[in-house]
């Protein structure tokens, strides 16, 4: 995911802000909501929570980097930046200025499948956020010009340098994506795009993209928090009601099947002091029946101090500086990743052997009930964390509405995990992690000999 700006402002509180890691066997609460669709197709989801005098407006457009054309990678995210440059009634710079003056935090983010914009603000400022969002949804183009595009192009190029090019190991993910997903798959390229493609983006591209995707009938707006339903709906109708419906969204071309035929070994020289091993297998799309078991498998492998890889490589053998595992699943497909940084003097090849041993043990012997229970506990805590803030709840509602087809899905989402058995975890380990994979070794300059080159089953 790529954000419009990184929050580096020191919060008022500088001490020990522990994560709200939360809770054991507690049910996940239902999120009450009301969903209304305006005549122009805009979906509005309301969720009232009067415990704190704040409100969040969180608007999701069903467009992401997966909708980009060849030669224009990174455009969906670049466009997201342009959306903050003012609209017909909002001068350049005023969008952020007016919101900050109202005590609001705001940002936007782009993924492969969707783009969102949110404002989190004191309740009494809700009309301002709605009006600003409506002006840019309905009237962005009359004041769009080359200078706005050029400026944000420079900002985004710097974002890429700051998050990818000038970061140790920063290019690992896009290197793997380009190998794992075929060239005509929407996940073949990274959300941030390439510098060359960003350079190529034109003002005409901006206009066409807006006309194609930024219409009320391609958007869902969640309003969550402390607001009055009736007056809010009056504002929504007044500000958004007159924005005309756009054309039917173009369908994405059929997605090619992702298969890794044989183990593929890649090496990337980078300015790093320690090598790092990245192994990626094909996974599944979000909410697929094996998605939740794969999440649990990632926790069992590297989720905490007692996880298999952490315990053995970092704690017992002390051969690795860090290990991590994650299951990435989104709209069309997914991938499963294990990363290991060997300690000085240890080799990536040895790490690959140890990972294979641990995966084989799960495939052969399964996992213990304790391991399953721990992973499920962690998962439940993260559900409660997500609903601890109004912004978190607005994201849940918007995500379920888009990916599951209804905002009312948090309990079903939690239930997916409750149903996972130890046998499921063993089964998905066998089904996915014994298949061919993409193996990328990022090595210090001049140390290509550290590359992992074999070890296929």
């Amino acid at each position: 995911m790529t954000l419009r700006y990184l929050v580096t402002i020191c919060a008022l509180v500088t001490a020990a802000a522990g994560s709200a890691g939360g809770a054991g066997a507690q049910g996940v609460p239902k999120l009450q909501y009301e969903k209304i669709t305006l005549p122009n197709g805009l979906e509005v989801i309301l969720h009232e929570d009067h415990s704190t005098p704040i409100v969040v407006v969180n608007t999701w457009y069903k467009v992401g980097s997966g909708d980009e054309k060849p030669g224009r990678t990174g455009f969906a995210h670049l466009f997201e930046h342009v959306m903050f440059m003012g609209s017909e009634n909002v001068p350049v710079g005023a969008f952020d200025k007016w919101l900050e003056a109202a005590g609001a935090n705001n940002n936007g983010s782009t993924t492969e499948d969707r783009t969102n914009y949110y404002e989190s603000l004191p309740s009494n400022a809700l009309p301002l956020a709605l009006w600003l969002d409506a002006d840019r949804m309905g009237r962005l183009l009359p004041v769009m010009d080359q200078a706005k595009l050029d400026l944000q192009r420079d900002v985004v190029k710097n974002e890429r340098r700051q998050r990818v090019d000038n970061v140790p190991y920063g290019k690992w993910r896009e290197t793997v994506l380009a190998t794992l997903y075929p060239a005509n798959h929407p996940y073949h390229w990274p959300v941030i795009g390439s510098l060359a493609d960003l350079s190529a983006a034109s003002l005409e591209d901006v206009k066409e993209f807006f006309r194609t995707y930024y219409a009320p009938n391609n958007a869902t707006m969640v309003i969550a928090g402390d607001f009055n339903r009736d007056s809010t709906l009056t504002w929504v109708n007044r500000y958004f009601g007159a924005i005309p419906r756009g054309p039917q969204m173009p369908a994405r071309p059929a997605v090619p099947v992702v298969t890794v035929q044989r183990d593929t070994f890649l090496v990337l020289e980078d300015r790093v002091t320690l090598a790092r091993l990245h192994q990626t297998w094909k996974g599944e799309r979000i909410y697929h029946e094996n998605d939740a078991p794969l999440d649990i498998l990632a926790s069992v492998l590297a989720g905490d101090k007692n996880s298999r890889l952490y315990k053995r490589l970092v704690f017992d053998m002390q051969v690795a500086q860090d290990v991590s595992a994650f299951n990435n699943s989104t709209k069309l497909d997914g991938d499963f990743n294990i990363l290991v940084t060997p300690k000085p003097g240890q080799t990536p090849t040895r790490m690959a052997e140890l990972v294979r041993e641990e995966v084989s043990r799960i495939v052969a012997d399964g996992i213990t009930p304790r391991e399953l229970a721990r992973a499920l506990n962690t998962r439940r805590s993260s559900f409660l964390d997500q609903v601890a803030s109004v912004l978190g709840k607005s994201d849940r509602l918007a995500e379920y509405n888009y990916f599951a087809g209804t905002p009312d899905w948090i309990q079903q989402d939690a239930a997916r995990y409750d149903r996972v058995t130890a046998a499921d975890v063993q089964r998905v380990a066998a089904q996915y992690l014994t298949k061919p994979k993409v193996v990328l070794t990022v090595v210090p300059l001049g140390k290509k000999d550290l590359m992992v080159m074999g070890g296929a089953e």
């Binding site: 402002i9 994560s19 890691g21 050029d150 944000q152 420079d154 300015r271 320690l274």
Partner: protein, 432 residues
């Protein structure tokens, strides 16, 4: 409490959860000379073994309770924090008691965490942001000042630490009279009091020696330094000097002044570098608030070929801040933001607990948060100018850039008005 330990409780009944932070007067500023990093190592070792449980068993216990515990030390204090369901709070807090009162500090884990810190320092040599922060601190403070080296210690000091050092630091600093238990969440004052008495009431020990607030002697004059990263596509910039302590009487003026200068998205420095020039993805300024005078720093990462221009703009904005009174509109934007965002910042029990811990760490009055918004509103354009003139020092500016010297040395030198010195990370195992 009878043993000198403090208890702070904020009942919040929104959800059936509670957040706990235990703070101990055992931060890096309390370290003996030559033992830099022992505070962080001690705090991180607490969950690695306590009572008759080893680290793995402790982690398992916390996980069974659905609570993950975190411990660390910063400049001022050590802190152990967790969030748990109210129903599990007594059991979770009993484990926290064991961490604090009966840590084992296993030899093996001492060695492991030291190794991990050393490898992290090795990795940091290639990590522009961390490298810039570290080298900026060294450029700011006199070498014998604790703030000059990282709170977790540098490779020389960490390598020399022993289990004996950890035990000695623990024995000297972890005492009931130096400890505050903060609980925010679904508990009553009476429940919290009973819990604290049961778990900590029989913990005895004298008051530790008071912490001498770190001497914040600044390096003198201006400095411009390039930390070499050949072929870097971007320059990581740090521009600033020693700032002021959290206890400064004009804290609110300085904070609002910084919000106008570079604390918000719509601040002068970000609007200039990002929104007017497109030099960067973001540029911000901050006072790092500690008990002693922490850094004032402008941080950004800019495309290599505009490094000189970016430094010129930053210095220009700092000069302008000192020269001209700000407009009413700018003041209102900053104060309205700080006022309005207040409830958003304190939405969760963890955030409330952290805010209360902050009161304790900085000895702020109990009604601090009640009066916070009024005090922000009381700042004027004149008091902002006074704060800028008192606390921004162009003549002491230290400019540290991690970047490619072949591209940036000349323009940087022109912008700074002095020839930069160049350091090579591989050769600075322990720079002076």
């Amino acid at each position: 409490m009878g043993n000198g330990m403090h208890l702070v409780v904020a009942p919040v009944t929104k959800l059936p959860i509670a957040s706990v932070i235990v703070i101990v007067e055992a931060g890096a500023s309390a370290e003996p000379t030559g033992k830099e990093g022992v505070a962080a190592l001690t705090a991180r070792l607490l969950p690695e073994g306590a009572g008759d449980l080893d680290g793995a068993a402790l982690a398992e216990r916390f996980e069974r309770l659905g609570a993950s515990v975190e411990s660390h030390a910063d400049w001022d204090v050590a802190a152990v924090s967790l969030t748990a369901l109210t129903a599990q709070l007594p059991a979770a807090l009993a484990l926290v008691r064991d961490l604090l009162r009966a840590p084992v500090f296993p030899e093996r884990e001492v060695a492991r965490l030291k190794e991990e810190r050393l490898a992290e320092l090795l990795q940091q040599r290639a990590e522009p942001r961390g490298l810039a922060d570290e080298q900026f601190a060294r450029a700011l403070y006199a070498p014998d000042v604790r703030y000059a080296s990282p709170p977790e210690g540098d490779s020389g000091s960490v390598r020399a630490l022993t289990r004996g050092d950890v035990l000695a630091f623990y024995a000297a600093r972890y005492r009931p009279a130096a400890t505050t238990l903060v609980i925010a969440g679904d508990v009553t004052q009476a429940q919290a009091r009973t819990l604290a008495d049961t778990l900590f009431g029989d913990w005895v020990g004298d008051s530790p020696a008071p912490v001498v607030t770190a001497v914040d002697t600044a390096q003198s004059g201006r400095l411009t330094r390039i930390v070499s990263k050949p072929d870097a596509p971007q320059s990581e910039l740090r521009v600033g000097h020693v700032g002021l302590a959290r206890g400064a009487p004009d804290y609110f003026d300085a904070m609002v002044m910084n919000a106008v200068l570079g604390g918000l998205f719509s601040s002068r420095i970000n609007l200039n570098l990002r929104e007017a020039h497109g030099y960067t993805y973001g540029a911000f300024s901050a006072f790092e608030w500690r008990r002693g005078a922490g850094p004032f720093v402008v941080s950004t990462a800019v495309k290599s070929d505009v490094t000189g221009a970016a430094v010129r703009e930053i210095l220009g904005e700092i000069e302008r801040m000192r020269r001209d009174e700000i407009g009413e509109e700018e003041l209102t934007l900053a104060t309205s933001y700080l006022d309005g965002v207040f409830p958003i910042r304190y939405e969760t029990t963890a955030a409330i607990a952290a805010a209360l811990a902050n009161l304790v760490i900085h000895a702020l009055p109990d009604d601090y948060y009640d009066r916070y918004r009024d005090r922000v509103r009381a700042v004027t354009t004149r008091s902002v100018l006074r704060a800028a003139q008192a606390h921004l020092h162009p003549d002491r500016m230290r400019i540290v850039v991690v970047g490619d010297p072949t591209v940036i040395a000349t323009p940087l030198g022109e912008a700074a008005g002095m020839t930069p010195d160049v350091m090579v990370p591989e050769r600075m195992e322990r720079p002076a």
